[in-house]
């Protein structure tokens, strides 16, 4: 009797083990399916975010180009002919530039919410600082070469951002793996913009600092600037360089991971 009981138990256990294994297999499959859903959701989220950012920055670029053209036009007005209406037009341009700053704020909010890009928010932040400088200068009816040079810097910064976003979207399309084909070791939460694109952005920001230094160097005899306003401008540039240094360090240390 006991022998029979033991045999019966063994037979049931054999069946139970198979069931357990099957259940575990199914659980694994369910886990993989859920991971796949998460990955697809993140991919879609990135695509949507990139497209939104590109549209917003494109809009900012169009607005900035218009402000630049109008600044050049106003600069052509000879100083004796600059009447009250000239100041009114400059004020209107300053308001238009302020609207670009508002757009930049919205784009920055999107980027900060995502939190995976290190350099891109800094590049946008620096462009925003330049925009604010343009707002101030236009409000003071300053439409000279300095204002125009800052506006050109903003335009090239925005163009570089659009390039980076387009590249990121293309990469996203290319890397989009077919359903159920997620590679082992593939990160669940890939960054919005890859390291290469961020490095290019760092290069672009550094290039802008270099160009400004070159511009200032023409006003300096030797190495050291002596005029207070020039020293102040160089110190502002040093602050910008400090931010580029910080994002480079963050990228190097993988702080976006």
């Amino acid at each position: 009797m006991k022998e029979a009981e033991r045999k019966l138990e063994e037979a049931q256990r054999e069946g139970a083990v198979e069931k357990q294994e099957e259940a575990l297999r199914e659980l694994e499959q369910a886990k993989a399916a859920l991971e796949e859903i998460l990955r697809q959701m993140r991919e879609e989220e990135i695509q949507r975010l990139l497209a939104m950012l590109e549209a917003r920055i494109r809009k900012m670029l169009e607005m900035q180009k218009k402000v630049y053209v109008d600044t050049v036009r106003l600069d052509q007005v000879p100083p004796p002919d600059r009447t009250e209406s000239f100041d009114i037009q400059c004020g209107r341009l300053s308001s238009e530039e302020r609207a670009i700053v508002a757009e930049a704020d919205k784009a920055l909010a999107l980027l900060k919410e995502d939190g995976t890009a290190v350099v891109f928010p800094e590049a946008l932040e620096q462009a925003r600082e330049d925009m604010q400088q343009v707002v101030r200068r236009l409000a003071q009816s300053k439409v000279d070469e300095i204002t125009q040079a800052i506006e050109k810097d903003i335009i090239s910064a925005l163009e570089e951002m659009i390039d980076a976003l387009q590249k990121a979207q293309k990469d996203q399309q290319r890397q989009k793996s077919p359903p159920g084909k997620s590679k082992p070791g593939q990160p669940q939460d890939p960054p919005l913009i890859d390291v290469l694109a961020e490095l290019k952005m760092i290069r672009a920001m550094q290039m802008r600092v270099n160009l400004r230094t070159e511009r200032y160097s023409k006003l300096v005899q030797g190495e050291q600037a002596d005029k207070p306003e020039l020293i102040e401008a160089l110190q502002r540039l040093a602050e910008r360089e400090a931010k580029i240094y910080k994002v480079t360090r963050d990228l190097e240390l993988g702080r976006n991971q």
Binding site: E10, R13, E14, E26, L196, I202, V209, Q224, L237
Partner: protein
Amino acid sequence: MMIRSRKMLCVGIAIALPLAWAVAALGGETLSGSRSWNAPNPAEVKAQALAWLDQQKATATVRQEAEVLWSDMSQNSNEVEVLYRLAATFALVDKNVLGLLHLCSKPKDQPLLPPQQWLTDPATPVFVAHNMRVLYARWLVQNDLYDDALEMLADLKPTDVVAPATLLFYQSVAAHTLLQKEKGLQAIAKLMEGAEDAPRRYVALARLMEEDLKGLQDDTLDHVARRMNDVRRRLDLGHAGRKVRQVEDSIIESLDKIIKKLEEQQQQGGGGGGGGGGSPQDNIRSSGPAADSVPIGGKGPGQVERRNIGSGSGWGNLPPKEREEALQKLGRGFPAQFREVIEEYFRRVAAEGAKDNSSNP
């Protein structure tokens, strides 16, 4: 009146500085061995200083003042203290040294520095020029002017000055900040030859700088970041000339090399991903590191002979309690929005299991 105020300044500096530097003690004993420098004996320096004063035909009053400057000098006085007493002695008869002491007694307060050509002028006595160059370079480093400091110290040897450890330490600091690896390591090695005689703070910092410099590699993101910090420092000082632009251009060159390398890696397929760390040369973390250590790129067919290990022993089965825990944990790792899906799945498994049991009694 003016001469009197100068003398007061010299005496004041000589008295005030020992208090500030009392922390670091430097023995005057010289040690034999393979080292290239020895700490000079303060008594010998005093004798040299007074002899120099005699050569300058100093008046009896000036000589007496110099004697006062050195009167409380002990054998354990540190070398910076000795250097400042020497400077104060020179300043009794040399207005250039007096001006330099004045400049170095406070932080930099104007963008353009007063020229100090006399320090490199062959007409200046070597004993004065060499030692005052160390004193000036120390102040330059303390005010972030590392290029100027390195220029001041360029051709000086430890045996040329009364503060050899200070000379080598500030050479190391300037070279380290300007990322001049070889120059920095050479200066540190020389400083370490007399580590037991050098101020402890110099030795401790030199060791840190040595470690840091040894790990420094060209054309890495770390190197780029350090040069960016150097550009920041230069711009903050109000520099916009050739030197700062050279550093700026070198940053762009290095970034181009790193970008090119990464692009090549991406074209070769992988971009360093999966390996968990990217390329070690460029020190950039991959955007797609492996989440865990998993075998990647195996080449075998992956077929193994299946063995029947039986199930009677229950080998490989978890005890029921742990199994239940594991099953619970499986569900816990998922986000809340999938809770319903998971619960539904478990309900389905349970229902199917019950169906199977009822159909196969």
